[in-house]
Amino acid sequence: MAQQTYYVRDTLAEQQPAPASTTGLVGWMRENLFNGPFNTILTLLALYVIYSVAWPVIEFVFINGVWTGDDRTVCTTAAQGGIQPDGWFGGCWAYVGAYLNQFMYGRYPFEERWRVDISAILLVLALIAVLVPNLPFKRWALLFAAIVFPVATIVLLTGGHFELGGFFFGLSGLAGLSGDFAFFADLAIVALIVAGAGLLAARATGSNPGSVVVPIIAVFVGIGVIMAIFAVDFGLAPVETAVWGGLLVTMVISVTGITVSLPFGVLLALGRRSQMPVIRSLSVIFIEFWRGVPLITVLFMSSVMLPLFLPADTDFDKLLRALIGVALFSSAYMAEVVRGGLQAIPRGQYEGAMALGLTFWQMMRMIILPQALKLVIPGIVSTFIGLFKDTTLVLIIGLFDFLGQIQSSFANPNWASPVQALSGYLFAAFTYWIFTFSMSRYSIYTEQRLHTGHKR
């Protein structure tokens, strides 16, 4: 059969560029913005929305914004007694600049503000230690974040040199003990009692006494050392929490809330999934109670009722009371997030761990919690974000957090102008946004990094 070839192309046809209407900006726009009448209308509508929202903002912030000035005249129109032309409407960033220090530190004494700065640096270091994966010396970094950082910041911010007091015997004057000595004596007594109980239990159950007693002693020695550091006079001037304010208070409350809520949340979540009916129902009651009431009532409770709950003469710092309220509240939310992770762990993991002969806490620590917490990292971060935003509520009970400090600056007639409030609030919104948005980005990053195995 003769091969009859009529036409065979022996070179590739020269590639033509895609039609102009489907490539480049025009093509992209046709594809994404103007494909069909309905979408075209939507696009035009969207453009109008952008114009009517974004433009005034840009105008307010940049075009009309005032960046320098000494008092209200630069931020008021001629009719209001200032230098701006009538009809002017712009951000008064000069006012924000003038108050920036107060927004950051509150009324923390000027000459002591370096302590806040150092605390902030420590916070950043601690965050790096916790958040950055694959850090060398991870163990030591975590130890720094969990122990060195909080102790150092407490001492730095308050000035340290706490008066310790006995809690069992010292106060009643028994054995004539008082002050720091009474505290350490009491601590030693408690340590001995607990260690003794542990020893007895270990003996009775036939486990290795050393493995029980040594950790107990270590914990108490740790407490003792930390307390000793608190009691030492480093020569720092004491700074009452009453003068703390601004971003400092916001950070103190959110960082404390976050650090406290995680361990408590894990405990509560374990309690809620416990086989023991009493522990389970207590956990359920605790969690549902705090989740069922608004934070503001919790803060009212901690600021008004907490002093009544404690024996007369225990006076609580106002900030500490708010911290307790926030910690209780966020622990309950954290517990529910952690529970979600625990429920997602297949039964086989529990059974496997038990088959290996691990104890409950070993199983939790080494098998279940690492997997469960990894699963719920996005939930944990969003709880943190919620907590960070909720710290603003403390201004209602009279603490001056970042927002509270900004609000209280409005009372000063020096900068009073119609745009003052809007400028202050925009600045606040921007600052909060930076924090929360970066947290949510971190959460997405971690989610992707840990996206191993569980999802197909």
Binding site: E288, V304, T392
Partner: protein
């Protein structure tokens, strides 16, 4: 079980090694701690109250309050009791919560769908909205609306004329107040008839579809009925509804229905804030329905509309409902921020003013917390029931 730890015939089991015994010990210790802590709190409180000469009891609820409240749906005056203050506050809370939930749901669904839109610009706008609103504290947004934005409205003695909608100024929104004529009942009856007809038609249409496979546009028919019938009744009865329009007077607009600015500010903030969260929930819900479902529906010959209505939405709703409920609860609890802008809700009037005036901190805070707790528990109970109803019945 307990015998399993016997080893080589040697009895090594101490009773503490028995998990059951341990569980009992743990629980007894736990109960002891809780009881002791609870008792010491109660005891301390009683001692403290006693020492400081503060009485405890709920008798103050029947005492006259003596202060005014600027928004009340039930009759309230200065001679009403603190008990009435509680109810006024609770109703105001529920009012803002219900209206807020309504608008937040609509807005949230719109934005959630917009974020999935094929229109790049629309999707971007929705994303930017969500990322900004979700990441700024609600209290700050509330302040912005109330102290910054509402400040830009005309002063109290002037007003922005919105024509037939009403007047708007810094002291609130003044809507025309409908005054019902003698024959208004006819309109009401017409609405009832329309609803009854709608139910009847739905019944009939479903039977027809079962029998013949033909569909009937129930929704449109129902909406048509609901509009046409009352309109006919309205005109037959001879224009029974007139409107009282607000007018400017010495201290600002008078007449009409007044909505206080605190309500507007709170509603705006709650709605916009919650809508951003609802939008994310809706998006996640829709994305949770696999694309195969759409393809299968299309393969069966369903067009886009019915695919969405009959296939996607019912499945997405199952994912959406539980987190949506918790957003509704959050909105209700967040309405307590009203205290910061003087909207007379439960926290502001009762836990605020009433507490300050009576000094009965323990009783009042307890009542407030239990009220919110009851609201959440009731909602959760309802939602659990609903969830069980719609839950996927798996093999």
């Amino acid at each position: 079980m307990t015998d399993s730890s016997q080893n080589g015939g040697v009895e090594r089991t101490f009773f503490l090694n028995d998990p059951k015994v341990r569980a009992i010990i743990y629980q007894v210790v736990m109960v002891a701690i809780v009881v002791w802590a609870g008792w010491s709190i109660v005891d301390n409180t009683a001692t403290n109250l006693n020492e400081r000469g503060i009485p405890f009891g709920f008798d103050f609820l029947t005492a006259p309050s003596g202060f005014g409240i600027n928004q009340s749906l039930i009759p309230y005056s200065e001679s009403s009791t603190y008990g009435d203050v509680y109810w006024v506050g609770l109703i105001n809370t529920l009012l803002v919560a219900v209206i807020g939930v309504f608008f937040a749901t609509i807005l949230g669904f719109l934005i959630g769908i917009a974020r999935l839109s094929h229109n790049w610009l629309i999707a971007r706008i929705a994303t930017v909205y969500i990322e900004i609103i979700r990441n700024v504290p609600l209290l700050l947004q509330l302040f912005v609306w109330y102290f910054a934005v509402l400040r830009l409205l005309p002063a109290k003695r002037e007003a922005l004329d919105l024509g037939p909608i009403g007047l708007l100024n810094i002291a609130g929104f003044y809507a025309p107040k409908p005054i019902f004529g003698a024959n208004t009942w006819m309109v009401g009856v017409a609405i009832l008839i329309a609803i009854a007809l709608g139910i009847g038609i739905r019944f009939w249409a479903r039977r027809r579809q079962m029998a013949t496979g033909q569909q009937f546009p129930i929704g449109w028919t129902f909406i048509g009925l609901l509009i046409v019938l009352p309109l006919i009744a309205y005109f037959i009865s001879g224009d029974p509804i007139t409107f009282e329009y607000p007018e400017l007077a010495r201290f600002g607009p008078q007449g009409g229905i007044r909505v206080i600015p605190e309500f507007i500010g709170l509603l705006l903030a709650l709605t916009l804030y919650t809508a951003a969260f609802i939008a994310e929930i809706v998006r996640a819900g829709i994305m949770a329905v696999s694309h195969g479902q759409t393809e299968a529906a299309h393969a069966l010959g369903l067009r886009n509309g019915p695919t969405l209505r009959l296939v996607i939405v019912p499945q997405a709703m199952r994912v959406i409902i539980p987190p949506l409920t918790s957003q509704y609860l959050n909105l209700t609890k967040n309405s307590s921020l009203a205290v910061a802008i003087a909207y007379p809700d439960l926290v502001s009037t009762f836990t605020g003013t009433a507490l300050n005036q009576t000094g009965r901190a323990v009783e009042i805070i307890l009542m407030t917390m239990l009220t919110y707790l009851a609201i959440s528990l009731l909602t959760s109970a309802f939602m659990n029931w609903y969830n069980k109803r719609v839950a996927l019945v798996e093999r």
